[in-house]
Symmetry: C2
Subunit: 215 residues, 2 copies
DNA sequence: CCATGTGAACAAATTCACAGCA
DNA sequence: TGCTGTGAATTTGTTCACATGG
């Protein structure tokens, strides 16, 4: 039976983010030709506790070897499968300003899991221009693009005042998840996964931490 | 008396991020000429609970009016002061690739609190080029740039394999906080505030959520 | 032995329920 | 009366301590 249905339960955002972190590290270790790792070794890397890491893994079953640690190849495989990273997720980026252009190239580069399959803008002057090996298409075409290319995830890099309308357009066109870079709080569709990345929030957090440091 | 010393205690990252979110919303309401808001109204906006929002505010003192709500202007002022957003924080961006260039323009644009005062790259071909109204300088000059311009926050947008070295260089040069966009886990200096933004982690979280939705 | 996996203890974050003040 | 501010209860997340098995 497929583990996917069993394990695709409510795993918290905190755990998911750590798993993603572990995965990056595990892939790097694998590149270096290392085959085994213990939760303690990972804990040292990440300044986390070893039991926490074991509990995170345990969300998706038992796949360590007692007394030995984890087989890196096996661990990567299981985690990737549990997170749905063993399938391709076609992305689409709307808003080919500087940030959108940079992200389109950055996110789609040389990756088996996430691949940018379309880039859109509503500026006729931009439509037809090339970004990497893709041609910018008009935002109005969004519905057929999503259908044709099986787009799963929409990336929003439009100005703040256009973000809500484009978000709605993405969802109506059949996109199943949204990653938003526009600095606004979107009115989200219930049940539709989405995340916002807000640079200003990160800077403001740092500003506060600076303050505390100086006293 | 200065509230700063009193309030600059350990406020959790979760609370800080929400405060930043509230602030954005409050500024928008202020723009619209609205003067008062209740915790319930904010809660509806953010799909959070009203007591949570009140507790968040309460970290920094009492400044609501019972039976009425909060005076938006006053609230903004107090929160900004509590977070250290009433002073300028000079930024420096290292790594003028596509992402770095986009971020330098994005972060420094028209803002009283965060201002990009220098952009750096180690590629001699890029040094001397213009990004907005700044000229790219060589990464080697980092120490004098930080000193001359009073840089507080360093933004890292260099490739993953250079990130640790540039991070160390930033810290040695006297930068007091770092915002990292390179997809690596940095070995951080204890006591020096830093945040990492990892686009892949966000995408991987969405991938998992897609999986759960489909079951 | 050694490191995993996990129930029990602990800590942190959030919600609840209501007292207190405009 | 209405909404803030907050202790108490609850939920969620993390650590501890140890039983389990290679």
């Amino acid at each position: 039976m497929s583990e996917r249905e069993i394990y695709a339960l409510d795993v918290s955002s905190l755990i998911l983010n750590r798993l993603s972190l572990y995965l990056r590290c595990l892939r790097a270790l694998q590149e270096e030709g290392i085959h085994r790792v213990s939760s303690q070794q990972l804990a040292d890397q990440f300044q986390l506790s070893a039991p926490l890491i074991r509990k995170d893994f345990a969300q998706f079953g038992e796949f360590g070897i007692r007394g030995t640690g984890y087989d890196i190849g096996h661990l990567i495989e299981r985690l990737q499968s549990a997170l749905g990273l063993d399938q391709q997720h076609p992305l689409l980026v709307v808003g080919m300003g500087r940030l959108g252009t940079a992200l389109a190239r950055y996110l789609g580069f040389n990756d088996a899991t996430f691949r940018v399959v379309a880039v859109l803008d509503n500026d006729p002057a931009k439509v037809g221009q090339e970004v990497g090996d893709l041609t910018i298409r008009h935002t109005e075409e969004i519905e057929e693009i999503v259908r044709e290319l099986g787009v799963e995830i929409g990336v929003l890099t439009v100005p703040a005042d256009a973000a809500q309308a484009v978000y709605d357009g993405l969802v109506d066109a059949g996109v199943q998840a949204v990653l938003n870079f526009a600095p606004v709080r979107l009115q989200l569709r219930p049940g539709l996964p989405s995340k916002s990345v807000d640079f200003r929030t990160h800077l403001e957090e740092l500003a506060y931490l600076l303050l505390s440091k100086e006293g």
